[in-house]
């Protein structure tokens, strides 16, 4: 029961969130949009303190301070290559917070408030799933555990049993809103979350982050229903709906269905892949050979991948591109939607290296240009130029839209080794007679190339 002014203040905050999401959809307004969202959140917190006059004020303020320091330090210190796992972690703690709020609210749910009890059960179960799922996602991306899908016989049975158990305990909780039952539901949720993410392969993990993000949004909405707080309801629903659509957009960009990403490995190992390198002959060249190809080309297209980011070679690549442009070569970067570890991740990494935004070309926009390209330089990417996505129906990436690097006159791969990409499948393009491989760390190779281009 809060005053009208507080309700109106919450409405203003909700409008801020809507405008923030809208503005985040366009590069020009995105940063303003994020600031607007932050302003809405701060407004909402201030209103809450004034309107609800909470007890335990000092401990709450201290907890707020600890959380703020943790959040700022974590997000300031993180390297941009590690950003996806940080987002996963933030999402997980949000889901955990929602589950805890619902657990504490159990005492206040009275008999006869069936809808509120259902919403509470939903928040606890899904919040716990989001928390543990995000933690496993974090561990996979941070490579604290294997990035390969983990399955074992009986996992599907256990998973379904966990879900059914979750539903059963939810029903129990609705009829008997006791904290102990809530804790049991929470534990079940944690187990289900772990089992949900274990079978997902490393390359698909970003989709899972997005899905869990939508889950957390829905739990916040349900929490808002329980507390009768319209702001939580609106903000949570917005994120739940936008997050669900975003998950679908990301999956579409990879040519996969969300269902296949989550359960593909369980159903028959379609995302497992071989993971072994073959010993077929390839053409490898020296930095000087490659420098001549690049230096005397008229049109070069760069395909950057996660390997570039891992080697921290974005700056060296930009220097090489500027050198080529100085020689009159037309150079563009072709950005696959899922280059890097997350859709849009590569744009962030290249922007960090101050590559001008207009040189970054999206896949649909540049795919027609590969036919005119003299040289395509693939740096630390593999699956996004693998023609198997078009030609081999049995390949796990079949149907994924790819960059048409195979249509160029010459293709150069900068690679560490012949190890297959994240999807774990062979790339025919590597064995093509028009392809030259330059083995080594991406940063060293690019530095050598840069030096050689200057002399040719």
């Amino acid at each position: 029961v809060i005053g009208t002014w507080a309700q109106i203040g919450y409405l203003v905050a909700a409008v801020c969130f809507i405008l923030a999401l809208k503005a985040l959809s366009s590069p020009k307004t995105a940063r303003t949009g994020n600031a607007l969202g932050a302003a809405g959140a701060v407004l909402a917190v201030i209103i809450t303190f004034v309107a609800y006059k909470p007890d335990n004020l000092v401990p709450i303020l201290i907890a707020l301070l600890i959380g703020t320091v943790g959040g700022v330090v974590g997000s300031r210190r993180v390297q941009m290559t590690h950003m996806p796992q940080l987002v996963a972690l933030f999402n997980g703690v949000g889901g955990g917070a929602a589950a805890l709020v619902a657990l504490m609210e159990l005492d206040h749910v009275q008999d006869g408030q069936t809808v509120a009890a259902i919403a509470t059960a939903f928040t606890i179960l899904v919040g716990a799933i989001s928390f543990s799922g995000s933690i496993v996602t974090f561990a996979k991306l941070q490579e604290l555990m294997t990035t390969r899908p983990i399955t074992f016989p009986g996992l599907p049975v256990l998973f379904v049993a966990g879900l059914l158990g979750g539903v059963a305990v939810s029903v129990w909780l609705v009829s008997e809103p006791r904290v102990l039952v809530g804790v049991l539901l929470c534990l079940l949720g944690l187990a289900v979350g772990v089992m949900l993410v274990l079978p997902v392969g490393g390359a698909d993990v970003p989709i899972v982050i997005s899905l869990l993000n939508a889950f957390t949004g829905l739990t916040v909405a349900a929490g808002g229903y329980v507390l009768g707080n319209t702001l939580l309801l609106v903000a949570g629903t917005l994120v739940g709906a936008a997050g669900t659509l975003l998950t679908k957009l990301m999956a579409d960009a990879m040519g996969r269905s969300v269902f296949n990403i989550l359960f593909g490995a369980v159903r028959g190992g379609s995302t497992l892949g071989g993971g072994t390198a073959s010993d077929r002959p390839v053409i490898s060249g020296s930095a000087e050979d490659v420098a001549i190809l690049l230096g005397y080309a008229q049109r070069v297209i760069i395909v950057p991948g996660y390997g570039l980011a891992v080697a921290q070679a974005q700056h060296t690549l930009r220097d090489l591109v500027e050198e080529l442009q100085g020689r009159g070569v037309k150079v563009d970067y072709a950005i696959h939607p899922v280059a890097g570890r997350m859709p849009g991740h590569m744009n962030v990494l290249l922007a960090e290296a101050q590559v001008p935004y207009e040189q970054l070309r999206e896949m649909d926009e540049i795919n027609g240009d590969f036919k005119q390209a003299d040289v395509v330089l693939v740096v630390g990417a593999n699956d996004v130029v693998n023609p198997a996505a078009r030609t081999t129906p049995s390949a796990p990436i079949y149907g994924m839209p790819i960059l048409n690097a195979d249509e160029a006159q010459r293709v150069i791969f900068l690679k560490r080794s012949m190890r297959p990409g994240f999807a774990g499948i062979e790339n025919e393009l590597l064995y093509d007679p028009r392809t030259t491989l330059l083995f080594g760390d991406a940063r060293e190779s690019l530095a050598k190339l840069l030096a050689s281009v200057k002399t040719v």
């Binding site: 940063r31 401990p59 309801l233 669900t244 962030v348």
Partner: protein, 101 residues
């Protein structure tokens, strides 16, 4: 029941708004958008403050404070990391500024 219905109405309308506002986003911005949406659900902090402010026994307060810390990390960290990502989408001229520093 009318209050439940009002909340249900808000839920359904907000769901449509959520889908509508981001339906035209380019792949370039998928990651910042996800991160920004992630920060917005950190507003569960409001819920954490409300329940902790009503808590009477020490164990409940402790759980509540834990929720406040987690929610704050989600909210503050989320907005800051999104800003860091977007900071890098500089237009032409952004680089010059950097060099002058």
């Amino acid at each position: 029941m009318t209050e439940s219905l009002a909340l249900l109405t808000i839920f359904v309308l907000a769901a449509f708004v959520g889908v509508e506002v981001i339906s035209k986003v380019s792949a370039t911005l998928h990651t910042p958008l996800m991160s920004g949406a992630n920060a917005i659900h950190g507003v569960i902090l409001v819920g954490a403050i409300i329940v902790t402010g009503q808590a009477e026994s020490v164990p409940v307060v402790i759980v509540g404070l834990l929720a406040v810390v987690l929610a704050t990390v989600n909210m503050v960290g989320g907005f800051v990391v999104t800003d860091r990502m977007l900071e890098m989408f500089r237009g032409p001229g952004g680089r010059k500024k950097e060099l002058h520093k």
